[in-house]
Every structure is written in C-alpha cells, then in structure tokens.
C-alpha cells in the first residue's frame, strides 16, 4: 500500500483533510453563522392533510414583544412567484402545478407552511407563531397511492384530471412473447415503505440583505448553490446576479438539501422586507416531513427452467406525496429507467406511475430511485431461485450482462459502460465465507437457531444529466497556482460531508507534482466558484475532480514553459515532483515549484513571456457516453457511469421476538478507479447503513387522514453503532472508459443492494416456516407477525 503522506496520492489512504477542524469543533456549519441584528423565523404549519384556508389572522402574533413581522400566504404571494421546479414534469409531458412558499387558499399536506413569524429571538418567534390563528375547512385527504389512482378519488390538485404526475412505460424487446415462451412465471409483490434521509444536520437558511448592492446572500444547507441562485432569482423576482448563495460546511445531505424547499426564498424575502438577517433552523419534526422511496411493485419474471430470464414485467406505483418544487418525484422515473439492472433481459415491459397524495412531499433520497430497482429485482430473483430450487448466486450469474458485452445498451436505452458482475459476486461470497455460513446455518437450525444468508446486486447509474433541467452532467473547476506556490482549487461541485475535497486535492497534487498540503479546495459560494451544479448523483469527484485535473494539466504546461526558460533547458526535460522542478538535461539546476510560480507572475516580459499569465485555468469536465439525442425508439442515455456492487449479509432471526441481528456484511464494490479507499469505503459503509436501517427500523407512518405520526428519533429508528455489523469491503474495479482515470460514482451505490440483501437474508432464515416477507420493512413486529401467522397455518405459505 502506498504511503498516504507521499505522492502519488491517488489511490492512497489519504485522511479526510477536514479532520483537525471537525474533531476540534472548529468546522463551521450553516447554523453557526450569526450576523448583526440577527432575526429568527418560525413557520406555522398545517395540522391537516387537505383543507381549504378560510382565513389567517396574525394580529395576536404581532402583539408579542420582539415580533418584527408575521405573514400569510396571500401577502407572500404579492412578493414571490411560484418556485421553479427542480425537475418540471411538464418538460417530460407530465402534470405540473404552481408550488408556493406559503399556502394560498388550500393546504395539500400535513405540515405545509401556512404562515411565518419573524422575531428577535427564536423562542419569541415560536411562541408568537402559536398565536397565529388559521381557520380551515377540512377536505377528504387521499393518503394511499392506489386509492389516489381510483377514478373517483378526491383530487390533490383540483384542476388535475388524475392524481398522477406522469405514467411512463419502459419497454424493450417483446415481453409478451417472452412470457408465452416461459417455462415458469414468478410473480412478486413488493411494497417499499416511506423512509427519510435524515442527516444529523437539519436544513438551515440565513438570509442577509445588502442595502447598498440591493443583493441577497443566503447562507444555506444547499447541495446545488448555483442552480438554487437561479431558482431564488425567479421566485424573488430579482436579477440573478444580485443573489448569492454560500453553502458552508454541510452536516450530511443525502438529497434532502437539494432545493425547491419553500423556506429558501421565504427567508430571502423576509430579510429583504425587514432589512435584517433572518434565520430559520429546521426542527427534527419538520425534517421528518420530507420523505421518499415509497413504491409498490408487481414484478413478473418469465423464466426458462434452467434459470434464464426471458422477460420482465413490472407495474409499479410511487406515492410521491403532494406536489413540490424539489426533485423527489424523479426518483420514480429512475426506478423504471434502471430496469432490468445488471441483468441481460432483452424483453422488458415496465410501467411507472408517479402518484400524488396528501402525504408530505418527497425529496431526493440517496439512491435516487435506483435503490427501488434493486429491491424489486433482487427480491424477485430470490423468489425465483426458491421456486426453481436454484442457488441464488448461480441464478444471478447466469443472467448477468457479461464483461465482453460492454458498452451494453439496455432495453430502456441506458448504455452501461463497464463491469464484471459475476466476478464481483464470487468475490463477495469468498469474502463473507458463503459456504462456511451455509454449513453453520444447517448446524444451528438443528439447535433451533435461525440464521439467514442473503445476497443482492445493485447497478447504480451515477453522474446523471437530464435534458432541459439543472441536472447537468458536466462541471467546472479552476486551478490557480499562487505566486508563493500554494494551489487554490475552486470548484463548482460541493461537499455534502463526503470528503470529496480531499479526493480532488489528491488528483491535483499528483497532476502538478506538489505536496498535498499546499492545496486548498474552495467550494460552495456562487461568487467565488465557477458556475457549477453542486452535489448529486455521485458526480462530485468524477466531474469536479476531472475538471480540476484538466485545469491542473494546463497550469503544469505553463509552469514547465517558465521553468525551461529559467533553467535554460528544454521543456521535455522538465520534471516536477514533491514541489521540486528538475531537468534531466541539467541535473544541477533545481528550482522550487514556488520559485517558478513567482517568476510566472513577475517576469511576464522575459522568461514568462511564453505563457499567458496568470497561472490560473478553468476547465470543464463533460463525461462522454451521455446521449440526449433520442435513438430510433426515442430513448436516451442520461448517465456516463454505472457503478455496481454485490452485497452479502448473514443475519440471525430471534423467532420469539422477530428481532433481526446482522452478524456479518460484505460488499464488493466497482466504482472504477478508486481515488481514495478511505473515502470510497466510507461512502459504501454509510450507504449500507442506510439500507440496513431502512429495512430493519426506519419507517415514516401516517394515519388514515394523512397526519404524520413519525415525528422524532424515538419513532424513526435509524441504526446505531451496535446495529451495523462489521463490513468487509472489497473492490473489483473495471475502469470507466469515458471518465478521468476511469472513475465511476461512489456516493449512492449501497442503499438498495444492502437493503435487498438484508430482506433476502431474513427470508432465507425464515424459509423453514414458509415465510417470505416482501411487504417491507422487516422490522421486528412484522417479522414476529409473519412467523406467528405461518405457525398458525403451518401448511400454507405466507407472503
């Protein structure tokens, strides 16, 4: 293993460079900013899922000492336009509606912002908000997605003719024929429950109005500062160049901090109207309103008796909640597009229905719908393996796209870049000692203990780009070599808390041949950084790092030219390493990188006349493979990179309580070139904890009227240290031909594959009872109930 403190840095275990600041409490998050005259906002939210607003009375709130302003939706609408949609369904032929910061005449979901109060301190704001009186006329709420799609269902949006954003078919080959030719058809109904990303840092916005410049600066937990600036300019009716977004250190994002949230523009408006800084810190209860992932699938596999899958059908419905300007609903689209995952199934007939209901809206959730594809496919494949009496790994390997097939066009139009799925599975089985656990499982079953072994595969398209939206595939970075030889990298990608600046610094250090501690990476400020799209879709190191590499190469060329002049030697003979510049032709001449930089700035009319000063370059990395020109069937490929991974886990189920304990976890991860194993493995393990938690405990519940019941971390039980077993991470890297050094994304893979492995393990453990749970989660009460039901009816299978 390379020494992480010396070049080359790429591939080495370089520690996350923010370690000293984080561990000493000096990292500064958005809530830590406080400005002179700081005011605080509190939001009044709807207690109903569906109601008409008959009136809002803020007069009592305004009587509270310390209150500066109180506002309802009607007043806000005088100043604010509807929020532009992050991904407008209308662009793709779907239904759309205006989304406002504060509800106007009606509320569409529990927790919807109705009014806002601004006061000198947060306690006063909260108290005064309780004095805002809103009269509602309740209407019937529609909570379940299947109910919502019935013709006579109440409409979430009155002027829509159906509670449906859009219905999209994903079709390739001839599924009908495949099902006619099948020896066996395996049907699986899979219900994925509503979950929420829940970073430990909630959303925070602090808006500062600059009277002189007539400019707003929003300090924000924002994954995408530049696109948010566009959205705020539109909503606030302001010139875009008078809006600035600063995204400080971020305490986790996972999609939650992609924009479209009503509080973003609202805080800006309040700051503009009061002339003072206005801050809002989301409570945990508010944060838990933002959901995702809820889908129900009806999957059918057409199989030959030898296990070859001839065709796939899936009818699935996503309950995306009430319409929002956030990009959550697009996850349902990606679930369909990613079918049939890593499998070579020529005949595919998938129909996606993105329903709206009176539940609170979705936002993007790590995995962005691709985790649902993995769950639907991997649970179905396990059922097929059981029904065919085949080994689940064998069934998968038999149906994978093979290494020689890449680039592989899928039936839905994706073009998979690279992979070696079979080897990845076999490696995982070795790492976890699959055979050993099978033996132990048999042994312990005789002793009345129930172990289960589950495997799953996940294909994760990353680095996406959707035409006509701010989901762009490219990004830009500026590299600047300063006169003293330090390097400043300014990039359009942002850091949600993953450590990508460390990866970008490694890349630039190696390209330039300088020590990594001379590099500083700057992100998250629309007035400092080149225009960029921020963080999503596992893109930051691919495009931010790729762009920084191109810019660094340009700087290096200039440094070499100046050095050759200074050393009176040829450019070809120059080498830069460890911050030293040497020439193979003139071993005595040695210059520091800093000396050459200084000359490049100060000797523009002699030795540096050969370059264009300063030592600064901005470049864009636009990965290939993305294709927005529709093919003959109208299909596009919005992704440059297809990370993939195999997961295996071992669990023990306590059949008396239903409690599932994970004993072991293994993953073999293919994210192409690994820039930093610490960062990649951190991403993989974090995503696995998402998948594990999502299946074993996390669930957002609503009652029949649409009131949200899950409002704190007692009810939303995310995994704690003892809940995540030891994870063995192996790599099997097949380089991506269209990215810098062969990188693929590493941020999203893991959620769906690990979730599916957990469910498959539980069902494997419960096979002796004939129990197979596909109505998720596999939390203790559900597992207990399923075992109990099976014991009551010993001869029948319980789904």
């Amino acid at each position: 293993m390379a020494d992480p403190t010396a070049a080359p840095y790429v591939g080495g275990k370089v520690a996350n460079q923010s370690g000293a600041a984080v561990s000493s409490g000096q990292a500064k998050y958005t809530a830590d900013f406080e400005f002179h005259g700081q005011l605080h906002a509190h939001i009044v939210r709807s207690p109903h899922a569906a109601a008409d607003i008959l009136g809002v009375d803020t007069s009592d709130a305004l009587k509270v000492a310390g209150v500066v302003m109180a506002m309802d939706g009607r007043e806000a609408a005088e100043h604010l336009d509807p929020i532009p949609h992050y991904i407008d369904a209308a662009v793709f032929g779907g239904r759309t509606t205006d989304v406002r910061c504060l509800a106007l005449d009606a509320v569409r979901h529990y927790g919807q912002p109705v009014a806002v109060v601004v006061a000198a301190d947060k306690r006063t704001a909260q108290y005064a908000a309780s004095r805002v009186r809103v009269s509602y006329k309740r209407r019937e709420a529609v909570v379940d997605a299947h109910d919502a799609l019935k013709p006579d269902a109440p409409r979430v949006i009155p002027d829509w003719d159906a509670n449906l954003i859009m219905q999209v078919p994903f079709i390739g080959g001839d599924a009908e024929q495949a099902f006619k030719d099948a020896d066996k058809i395996v049907r699986t109904r899979i219900n994925i429950h509503r979950q929420s990303t829940q970073p430990i840092e909630t959303r925070v916005y602090n808006a500062v109005w600059d009277l002189q410049e007539q400019r707003i600066t929003l300090y924000a937990t924002a994954q995408n500062p530049h696109p948010l600036r566009y959205v705020l300019a539109k909503t606030l009716r302001m010139p875009e160049n008078r809006v600035r977004i600063v995204a400080p250190t971020t305490g986790g994002a996972f999609g939650l901090k992609m924009h479209g949230h009503p509080e973003e523009a609202l805080m800006c408006l309040l700051a503009r109207l009061t002339g003072l800084p206005v801050k809002w810190v989301e409570s945990r209860e508010e944060c838990l309103l933002v959901g995702g992932r809820e889908q129900s699938h009806e999957v059918e596999l057409a199989l030959r008796k030898d296990g070859r899958i001839l065709g796939l059908r899936d009818r699935f419905v996503a309950n995306t909640g009430a319409p929002t300007a956030c990009p959550g609903w697009g996850m349902a689209f990606l679930t369909g597009l990613t079918m049939p995952g890593p499998y070579d199934i020529a005949n595919v007939d998938v129909l996606m229905s993105a329903a709206v209901t009176n539940k609170p809206p979705w936002n993007a959730s790590r995995g962005y719908g691709k985790e649902a594809t993995a769950l639907a496919l991997e649970l179905s494949l396990d059922r097929a393996a059981r029904e065919l009496d085949m080994d689940p790994a064998e069934l998968r390997c038999q149906n994978f796209v093979q290494p020689e097939d890449f680039p592989k066009k899928t039936p839905t139009g994706l073009i998979l870049d690279s992979g070696d799925y079979g080897t990845t599975v076999r490696k995982t089985l070795e790492v976890i000692d699959y055979e050993g656990w099978r033996a132990k499982q048999a042994e312990l079953r005789d002793a009345g203990r129930y172990l289960g072994i589950g495997i799953a595969y996940e294909l994760t398209p990353e680095g996406g780009s959707l035409p006509g939206t701010m989901v762009a595939g490219y990004d830009s970075s500026t590299v600047q070599a300063d006169p003293s030889g330090t390097i400043t990298v300014i990039t359009g990608v942002t850091n949600p808390g993953t450590g990508n600046p460390t990866g970008i610094a490694q890349i630039v250090a190696d390209e330039l041949g300088v020590p990594i501690d001379t590099i500083r990476v700057v992100q998250g400020d629309t007035e400092t950084c080149p225009y960029g799209f921020g963080n999503y879709s596992g893109r930051s190191t691919i495009v931010g790092g790729g762009a920084a590499a191109l810019a660094a190469q340009e700087i290096k060329e200039k440094v070499i030219k100046v050095a050759a002049g200074l050393m009176e030697t040829t450019e070809d003979s120059i080498q830069i390493a460890g911050g030293l510049v040497t020439s193979s032709e003139n071993p005595d001449a040695r210059l520091s990188f800093a000396d050459v930089c200084y000359a490049a700035y100060t000797r523009a009319y002699d030795v540096a006349a050969c370059i264009e000063p300063p030592l600064q370059a901005t470049r864009t990395f636009r990965p290939g493979l993305i294709s927005h020109a529709p093919d003959e069937e109208g299909k596009i490929n919005p992704y440059p990179s297809y990370s993939n991974a195999a997961y295996a886990t071992v669990c023990e189920v306590d059949i008396e309580t239903g409690k599932v304990t994970l004993l072991r976890f293994a993953v073999t991860h293919d994210c192409g070139k690994v820039i930093n194993p610490i960062l990649v493995e951190g991403q993989a393990c974090g995503a696995i904890a998402f998948g594990v938690g999502g299946m074993l405990g996390e669930q957002i519940l609503h009652d029949a009227e649409g009131h949200q019941l899950t409002n704190d971390f007692i009810n939303y039980t995310m995994p704690r240290a003892a809940d995540v077993p030891a994870i063995d991470v192996a790599h099997h890297d097949s380089p991506n031909p269209v990215t810098y050094m062969g990188m693929k994304g590493a941020g999203e893979a893991g959620v769906g594959g690990s979730a599916a492995a957990v469910v498959n393990a539980v069902n494997d453990a419960l096979a002796p009872f004939g129990v197979e749970i596909t109505d998720l989660p596999v939390s203790a009460p559900r597992v207990w109930a399923a075992i109990r039901a099976a014991r009551a009816q010993p001869k029948r299978k319980v789904a």
């Binding site: 561990s23 009587k63 000492a65 970073p199 995540v724």
Partner: protein, 166 residues
Amino acid sequence: MSENMEELLEDFIYWQARVNGRLQDAEIHPAMSLLDLLRDELRLTGTHMGCMTGHCGACTVLIDGKVAKSCITPAASVQGKSVTTLEGLASDGDPHPVQQAFAEESGFQCGYCAPGMVLTTAELLAKTTDPSDEEIQQALAGNLCRCTGYQSILRAVRKAAARLAD
C-alpha cells in the same frame, strides 16, 4: 409596554459556571437549554443541534467529566458546574488523543456528530483503555451517525484506546 403588546412574562436568572476552564456568566431564561446557552449566548458552536429530544447526541458535552446531552439539559441545572465542549477538550493547544485518532482515522464524514462521538469516547477511555467492540458500541449507543456506518468511528476509538494504553 404598550397596551397592545404582550410580554413573555418571566424571571431571568443569573447563571454562572465554568465552561472550558473559563468562568462564564449570563442572564438566562429558566427554560433555556444548555445547548442554546452554549451556542447562542457563549457562541461555542462546536456543540451541534440535531434533534432537541436527546436522541442523536450531536449536542453532547461533558458536565463535571460526565457525558450529557446539552439539548435536554436545562442550563440552570449546571449552575456552578464545569462544562467541557468539543472546543475545550484540547489542553494547551494540543489535541486530545481521541481528537487526534478521529482526525487520523477519518472517524467522521460530515463531522456533525463529532461532538458526541469524540466526547463520549473520551469518557469511555477515561474508564478503560481496553474496551471491547461491544463496550464501544454500548458507549456510543446514544450517538447517531448518518454518514459512516460506524466502521471508521470504531477504528478511531480503537486507535485512541491503543494510544492511551501505551
């Protein structure tokens, strides 16, 4: 006070305690949490708000050397006591061995949970420098991390333990 105005009637109390070794005082509302006092009055922002219900542990501090959730600790209850926040764990500018181990092992990703992870580990390792994995997991049971899957945190704790045992 004009007749249209409603005051939040309450008696403020005079508060005094030692925070990170320094004697501090403030006029506080009786219901104010220690978290709000540290962050809003003393501007010690290294202690983080995560849930305000005591479940996530991002607000962890040490009170007289014992781990406490500052979001559910009334500030008034620490009158005259000694509070250590993450900013105050270093001594004479040298990071505490636990801080060093977390930095070296990247025992965090976004870092927001670091106050709880680092201070809880410091408390654990003050009792034993040879904790089992189960003991570490038990000690950290009150602290949520959403980024790491806990693998790198456990590595950091083990490294800190080994260093303190030397």
